[in-house]
């Protein structure tokens, strides 16, 4: 089976600084895979590399089994890699459905370089996406600024899922939410594979990782220290792996 994403010996250097080195991992279709590590372990660089935002210095990055020499954020979205940023990257002044289709508006007809918006179609499709994910928002024709933190998170996820992606990268999705508000979000993440998306989940909350993932990669000082099966591990084991406890220095 072709992996949704596969990294072989991936590395990223900024001058003399090593951000990532010897990164080998894969995510299979339908998997939710967690990435844990201390601050500065390379989680964010790794995520941005997979999202096309950072170009690796060496190594192979295969998306759907294929290397893409001109990999970029735009290209990533085209081939089904979506990222939900920690700050959500929403435009407060635009309506909910406009945010969901931002940069990928549906058009009635196009003039060269210009799309004429099909708002009814965009609204209907936005409703469809939310229904498919079993999400509920008040009227979609409100500006995002009117929403609560949890609701904004849903809009960001709906935007990622609107194009039926193969991989959704999530950066600390529960960081800004209370534990109570985060719970339904975790259930939603667990359900995303049913809609055909694998998930790459980066989180500081180990309980989040334990609850949602199938496997967890531990990052330490820019490299993958180990891989754990969620069903067979504990939070303590993850913590020890992150800190390098019990290994020869």
């Amino acid at each position: 089976m072709t992996h949704v994403v596969e990294a072989i010996g991936l590395a990223k250097y900024y001058g003399a600084v090593t951000a990532l080195e010897n990164i080998d991992f894969h995510i299979a279709p339908g998997e939710v895979v967690g990435f844990a590590g201390d601050n500065g372990a390379g989680k964010s660089t790794l995520m941005r590399t997979i999202a096309g935002d950072v170009t690796p210095s060496s190594g192979e990055l295969r998306i759907g089994g294929r290397m893409d020499p001109a990999y970029s954020p735009r290209r990533a979205r085209e081939i089904g890699v979506e990222m939900v940023y920690q700050d959500l990257a929403l435009c407060d002044n635009l309506d909910i459905y406009e945010n969901i289709f931002l940069g990928r508006e549906i058009s009635r007809f196009g003039l060269p370089g210009l799309k004429v918006l099909d708002r009814p179609q965009m609204l209907a499709r936005a409703e469809e996406v939310l229904d498919r994910l079993d999400l509920h928002l008040p009227s979609l024709t409100e500006p995002v600024s009117a929403l609560s933190g949890g609701q904004r998170q849903l809009v960001a996820i709906a935007r990622a899922m609107a194009s039926s992606p193969k991989l959704v990268i999530m950066d600390e999705p529960t960081a800004a939410l209370s534990v109570k508000a985060g719970r339904p979000l975790l259930q939603l993440i667990r359900r995303l594979p049913q809609s055909g998306a694998s998930v790459m989940l980066v989180s500081h909350r180990l309980s989040d990782l334990m609850e949602t993932t199938d496997r967890i990669y531990i990052l330490r000082r820019g490299s993958i220290a180990c891989e754990l099966k969620t069903a067979e591990t504990t939070e303590t084991e993850i913590l020890h792996a992150m800190a390098g406890v019990g290994e020869a220095a």
């Binding site: 931002l102 940069g103 609560s148 949890g150």
Partner: protein, 396 residues
């Protein structure tokens, strides 16, 4: 999902109220502006002058007087929505006016070629500003502040400080002609019927609506109807629709459509709302910014053609305060100086209110110094009302 659904429903009522107010506020701003404008007209007509304001002749003059500021305010609004600004608009207009008379007098070009070259000259300046903005990352405030000075200088250097005058008949007719009266009235009715009809339809539609929305719909309908009938009456009874006013109308409709109904328009708002987010979803932010400056340049070219033809002269010192007036009109029209908000109809309404006050004060024989005081106070009042309603809403 039960928790979230529950909490969603909890906030729903409050959100609905806040949102219907938020979207009403955009309309409210426009209705308020037009309402204030009507009050200004009535006051000057009945109290401060002997019925000089609401005459077909004066309304026609007013519609031409507002054109230059309104055209620039539209371009300024688009720039401000995307968090950019152009302080050089007055200097660019003066320069293009000087060039227009070079084309007309020295080169003897036709009116059509002159207009096309004027628009191209504006576009080139816009392209230069946009390029400096996105490639050297200089803030547009600085780039256009520099333009404010050096472009004005060039406008003086080319004619050696002289005011060129005397364009060809063809060029003179551009701003000094009208659509025939009967055709003007027909055109206004044609445009007004769908607009007034839609407002009437919305007003009569049933369904659950807050009282404020209902009241607003009635006022909107009444104002639209009054403006349409008033315009038809005025232009029918005085020569017809002046070409500059027609040009302003066409540009306003086109730009409003562009901003509201195309992906380009949405992306301009997105760039102003959250540039980083816009970049991340694949919007070419730099291209949008360059295009906005080019649009501003072309609009300045239009303004220069209108002004040059009206005056039949090109004083290189013209329009010193024009950029600031355009910014004032945009802000009075609801544009947020920090980006993300604003509208084309708002910009035109802002320019109309400013022109109405100057017009009324002139007719009342009041010193122009007072006009400056009035413009400043209107600007403060507009922003003050905005600030107040926003704070009020947040507390709800």
């Amino acid at each position: 999902m039960t928790d979230l659904t529950q909490s969603t429903q909890d906030v729903r009522a409050k959100d609905m109220r806040r949102t219907s107010l938020a979207s009403s506020r955009r309309d409210l701003r426009l209705v308020l502006l037009l309402g204030v404008t009507v009050v200004v007209w009535l006051a000057f007509h009945f109290i401060f002058t002997d019925g000089f304001v609401l005459t077909p002749r004066n309304l026609s003059t007013l519609s031409v007087q507002m054109t230059v500021t309104a055209i620039l305010a539209m371009g300024m609004t688009m720039l401000l929505i995307a968090r950019e600004i152009d302080l050089s608009a007055g200097a660019v207009m003066a320069l293009v006016m000087v060039l227009v008379f070079q084309f007309q007098i020295t080169l003897g070009l036709s009116a059509t070629s002159t207009v096309l070259l004027a628009l191209a000259a504006g576009a080139v300046v816009g392209l230069l500003h946009g390029a400096l903005r996105v490639w050297l990352l200089i803030p547009s405030f600085i780039i256009t502040l520099a333009g404010f000075s050096w472009l004005r200088g060039v406008a003086y250097i080319i004619p050696d400080g002289q005011t060129l005058a005397g364009a060809s008949d063809g060029f003179y007719r551009i701003s000094n002609s009208e659509v025939p009266p009967i055709a003007s009235a027909a055109l206004i009715v044609l445009v007004a019927v769908p607009l007034v009809g839609r407002a009437g339809f919305r007003m009569l539609s049933t369904g659950e609506k807050p009282t404020l929305t209902r009241v607003m719909e009635v006022i909107q309908f009444a104002l639209l109807l009054a403006f349409a009938l008033g315009a038809a009456w005025a232009f029918y009874n005085h020569r017809g629709l002046p070409y500059p006013t027609l040009l302003l109308g066409v540009l306003a409709f086109g730009l409003h459509w562009l901003m509201q109904n195309t992906d380009f328009g949405r992306h301009v708002y997105a760039v102003g709302g959250n540039p980083e987010a816009a970049k991340r979803v694949g919007i070419n932010v730099r291209l949008i910014v360059v295009l906005l400056f080019v649009f501003m340049g072309i609009l300045t070219g239009f303004a220069a053609v209108v002004q040059a033809s009206l005056l039949d002269a090109a004083p290189p010192g013209i329009g010193e305060l024009l950029a600031l007036n355009a910014i004032s009109a945009a802000i009075i029209g609801g544009t947020n100086l920090f980006g993300g908000q604003g509208s084309i109809p708002g910009a035109v309404a802002g320019a109309l209110l400013m022109a109405s006050i100057s017009n009324g004060l002139s007719l009342a024989g009041v010193n122009t110094f007072y006009q400056m005081v009035a413009t400043g106070l209107i600007l403060l009042a507009a922003v003050g009302v905005d600030s107040f309603t926003r704070r009020h809403e947040m507390r709800m």
